[in-house]
Symmetry: C2
Subunit: 142 residues, 2 copies
DNA sequence: GTATTTGCAAAGTGTTTGCAGAATA
DNA sequence: TATTCTGCAAACACTTTGCAAATAC
């Protein structure tokens, strides 16, 4: 049985603070954008941080469940993870070529989603918005 | 080599007009909402229309590529297909409980996506919007 | 000292593909 | 008859899980 974290305590990871979990978290933060579990795994192993693929998946699941990571799906259905510094709901636009991701102003969509919820008569409406394109770098550099 | 379809001709399916493809298309239309390839397959076989799973996938691919079906992904990453009567880009809201889908007015999102494209500096911006909730039936019926 | 975490390998998804036989145009 | 379609089984990619050994607290 684990004691509940005290209020005001900085929560870095749920459960035990192990080296692997720190590596995964740091690699995720360093990625500075969306990465797949597989890519993270490959990077860690390549860096000389021996981690199992299942550990990567399990850690990402923990991070996601506690709201410290966002998930999107790429066009192949693969999941991409991104560290979330703030606690807020956020939308991104992703570069299809280099993977660069940028947060976008999404108030308009939020408002629209709310409006649709009202008009449609649906309750507990959730939304997913995924934007992709070619970033300024990639659109220019051929 | 196939002759290009003449203008004004009613195009029902790309390629050959075979029984299986008609079955798949009809089952898709009858579904009247989003269905998975697997569900469509199960239904067809159960109906006494012997179809291979690969044929279902291949037919759905053809339909999707020619713009006669829409795709969304459910929360497990599974793809759901829906017949598209009109030729237009369309968004839906899906009931998480019964699967009911309803087209929603999405002009605001389209406009927003366009605006984001401009501000972000990204080119060839594509967007995916997925809404889900509990439909009027399901929200009431507990 | 004990509950949690780890890695491996195996299992599980949904989806795609190779190929020989069947069917269409 | 020539091309396309079909079904099966195997292949695939991503993800999850069972379990014994290692580890954190």
């Amino acid at each position: 049985m684990t004691a509940a974290p005290r209020e005001g305590e900085i929560i870095v990871l749920g459960g035990r603070r192990t080296p692997r979990r720190k590596w995964v978290l740091n690699a995720l933060i360093d990625s500075n954008g969306f990465v797949s579990a597989q890519a993270l795994y490959t990077r860690l192993v390549g860096m000389g941080s021996p981690v199992g693929l299942s550990t990567v998946y399990r850690t990402l699941r923990v991070l996601t469940e506690s709201g410290r990571a966002d998930i999107v799906r790429d066009s192949n259905g693969e999941r991409l993870f991104r560290y979330r510094p703030s606690a807020e709901h956020q939308h991104y636009i992703l570069c299809r070529r280099c993977g660069l991701s940028t947060a976008v102003e999404a108030a308009a969509v939020e408002a629209w989603a709310k409006r649709v919820a009202t008009f449609s008569g649906f309750a507990e409406v959730e939304h997913t918005v995924e934007l992709s394109g070619l970033c300024p770098q990639c659109r220019g550099g051929g």
